[in-house]
Amino acid sequence: MAHRRCLHSALLHATALISLKKSPSLSIVKALTSKPNPGITTSNLEPSWFIPWSYIRHFSSRKSDDSENEAEMEESSDGEGESDEMASDMVRDYSPEEKEAEAAAIGYKVVGPLQRSDRVFKDYEPVFAVVQIGSHQFKVSNGDSIFTERLKFCEVNDKLILNKVLLLGSPTQTIIGRPILPDAAVHAVVEEHALDAKVIIFKKKRRKNYRRTKGHRQELTKLRITAIQGIEKPEIKTDGKPLKAAVKKPEKIAATA
């Protein structure tokens, strides 16, 4: 008698499940129909059903409450399942190259091909650029090294083009972008993907017997800047202070305008 009641209510719950979630519930329904003894649990959701089964004996008034409770519990578990799936999708989903290009655009970099025996490391040129990667901005010149957050979709010895350039400068000229310069490009090469030193996050509340220790290593990418394009580069390095006065005027105008 109890078994019949349990099965009946279990079928009702199963129908409620089907409305919410599709494929896993079918397997659960099959498990239910095949096994008359609901004590054997194979799926994850079944233990959650056992809790409201104590209410099964109070039939008619409590059914809607049970289904509502179960709906809430299932939705919460669905949410967790979806977040887990999303996390795994974040890791695996980027096989199409278009998606990689989109994600690269978010991080303001375009991956070029690998290079070998390519003379990319030139001498120092007196040109600088202010470039943005992710949410960090760097003032960058030829031959500098930059440590950024781990950039996805690029491996060691990859050429990158950083296209979010906010300012270009040389001893004779300064070009300011509003907010970015469309024709400017900064070329960089990925030197390494490494982990930062370990930081220990220690939490303590005194006199409350609460102490937590957590270790964290941030993943970094080291980029070496090879070239800056979009500005005239002076060949003579003797440009000095009198020309700077003429240069700074466009800055002021741009600031006030």
Partner: protein, 93 residues
């Protein structure tokens, strides 16, 4: 062992510039040793790790330079900090 059978050959092919040597050392935990160009050695113990984890550590060793793991002082390392001249309080625009 499973790593050596399943993942090591692919790792070797993906990195033809690396010299991968396998040794059987009895009485010690299995470990990965990375030799870097700056004569630095990084050792990672892989006892009781799944092949995927071992591959992850191997790629980390491959991606890294042999720098000593210290906290970074600056995120921007440059030899020429100023292009248009360092600003002081005397500079007038």
């Amino acid at each position: 062992m499973a790593f050596m059978e399943s993942e090591l050959p692919t790792f070797k092919e993906k990195n033809p510039q690396l010299e991968v040597v396998t040794e059987l050392i009895r009485g010690q935990h299995p470990h990965l040793k990375g030799f870097y160009k700056n004569k630095n050695e990084r050792v990672v113990c892989v006892k009781n790790m799944t092949p995927e984890d071992i591959l992850l550590y191997a790629t980390r060793l491959r991606n890294a330079l042999g720098r000593k793991v210290v906290k970074l002082r600056t995120r921007h390392v440059t030899k020429h900090p100023s292009v248009q001249g360092t600003w002081t309080t005397d500079v007038k625009f």
